[in-house]
């Protein structure tokens, strides 16, 4: 019996040592293999993020380009043509200086052309630098925007805020205004809501813009997928502007009838 125990101990030591060897071999191989895979996966994620950032950058450059083209087209097609007509009118007026009736008609036409041009210039200016936003601040700017949309009778927008006179960095105000405008445009275009409620409040050191609407909702994940797949600039513009002001934008569907968009901006 004692011999058997002795042999067993020696056998146990041999088996245990070999078992440990196999285990350690497995551990080391596993670690070497797994580390490669994890590194490859990490590289993939970094590449994907870089691609996404590049897409957003390209989108923001294209948006800036399109705005320049829009301004150039407005200047050329409206103001350029109007100025050409005014020049012709001046020549006609010079020729008809003794014909009071014709002269008066030319002056009246020219006045109308100048008024149209001034409206076009104002419209371009308002688009670039909304005056209400510039002079009266973000809250009044958004109120004005809501009024403009209400005038179109497509959607009914109501606006509420507890802080009428909030002030923060002008650059953030402008970008946030454009972001809210872009989100509203997209919501009205794709969600087709009949009612939108906008609320603005300050939450600690952040500004919170909340939009509730009864149109077709979408989630943040769906937005990100769409922005990668689609060639349209609207979504990319929203994501780019959000990043520019270090904001967090969240799209949720609360239920069948209400969807929500929140924009959280540090100020």
């Amino acid at each position: 019996m004692e011999n058997k125990d002795q042999i067993d101990i020696f056998t146990l030591v041999v088996i245990a040592s070999m078992g440990i060897l196999v285990l350690m071999l497995f551990i080391v191989f596993f670690i070497a293999l797994y580390q490669k895979r994890m590194l490859a996966h990490k590289t993939e994620l970094v590449d994907a993020e870089n691609k996404h950032q590049k897409k957003l950058l390209d989108a923001s450059l294209e948006i800036a380009e399109q705005e320049r083209i829009k301004i150039a087209t407005n200047l050329h097609d409206d103001i350029g043509i109007t100025l050409s007509v005014l020049k012709l009118n001046l020549s006609r007026a010079k020729k008809n200086i003794n014909n009071i009736a014709v002269f008066d008609e030319i002056i009246s036409d020219s006045n109308k052309n100048i008024d149209d041009s001034l409206d076009t210039v104002r419209s371009i200016y308002n688009d670039i630098m909304p005056p209400t936003l510039m002079k009266l601040g973000f809250v009044k700017g958004i109120k004005e925007l809501c009024n403009q949309i209400n005038y179109t009778d497509t959607t009914e927008i109501s606006f509420s805020t507890a802080q009428e006179n909030m002030e923060f960095d002008k650059k953030i105000e402008l970008q946030l205004y454009r972001l809210v405008k872009e989100v509203l445009n997209n919501t009205i275009k794709h969600g087709k809501p009949s009612i939108i409620e906008i609320n603005i409040e300050i939450n600690g050191s952040c500004l919170l813009v909340t939009m509730l609407h009864n149109g077709l909702g979408i989630t943040t994940e769906a937005i990100k997928k769409l922005s990668e797949q689609s060639t349209g600039l609207g979504l990319k513009s929203i994501l780019t502007r959000t990043q520019l002001i270090n904001a967090i934008i969240d799209f949720t569907i609360l239920n069948d009838q209400i969807a929500k968009v929140t924009i959280n901006v540090p100020i």
């Binding site: 146990l12 040592s17 551990i27 994890m38």
Partner: protein, 213 residues
């Protein structure tokens, strides 16, 4: 018995391989590899002294008691110097003087002339934990792009294989010696030699990788 001596001699000679590699790459031995280089030198010195002792039929256990403490200290410093780049390895620093206490207890209980199996078992256990933590930390934080090109990986692998493979042998050594000394010596010459060979090969690869870096 001659075959046992042959195997043991073979493994002793193999300890020259990483030592020579360290001498060739001596300029590249920096930071956490410094304690390993010192250990390689101590290894070779101990092997030579042990061989001389055996030739004169003297008990080698007294050298091994001292060697165990030096080996543990140097390998702990290797891990401590590696980890100090990322966090404060105060646990490793504290374990060194604590191990001195363990070795002293072993000496008091068993004396210098018997094998230091208790302290070697404790040493094996702690060093295996250090190596497993090293692998876990490196994997979790993805510190290296190419793990197989890092000297620290091969040195840790060497430590892991040697001390985990010999752990059971160390734990039951005293019992097996009392029961059947010849069988124990046979087992020692096979198992310990095998893992010692692996240990020296991996250490050598680790030292060689410092040249490629």
């Amino acid at each position: 018995m001659d075959n046992n001596r042959l195997l043991v001699s073979l493994s002793q000679c193999l300890s020259l391989f990483p030592f020579l590699g360290a001498l060739i790459n001596i300029k590249k031995i920096k930071e956490c590899l410094l304690p390993v280089f010192v250990l390689l030198f101590v290894n070779v010195a101990v092997e030579i002294i042990a061989t001389i002792y055996i030739e004169f039929d003297k008990n080698t256990n007294e050298i091994l008691h001292v060697f165990t403490v030096i080996e543990f200290s140097l390998l702990s410093l290797f891990f401590a110097f590696f980890f100090k780049k990322y966090f404060n390895p105060i646990v490793i620093y504290i374990s060194i003087p604590l191990f001195f206490i363990v070795a002293y207890v072993d000496y008091k209980i068993n004396g210098l002339n018997s094998a230091d199996n208790f302290s070697v078992s404790v040493e094996s256990f702690i060093l295996v934990i250090y190596t497993l933590f090293f692998f876990y930390y490196v994997l979790k934080n993805l510190i290296f792009d190419n793990l197989l090109a890092q000297p620290v990986f091969w040195i840790s692998t060497a430590v892991l294989f040697y001390f985990s493979g010999n752990f059971v042998l160390f734990v039951f050594a005293n019992y097996m010696m009392r029961v059947d000394l010849d069988k124990y010596l046979l087992l020692w010459s096979i198992i310990h030699t095998f893992f010692n060979v692996l240990y020296n090969i991996f250490l050598g690869i680790g030292i060689w990788k410092t040249r490629i870096r």
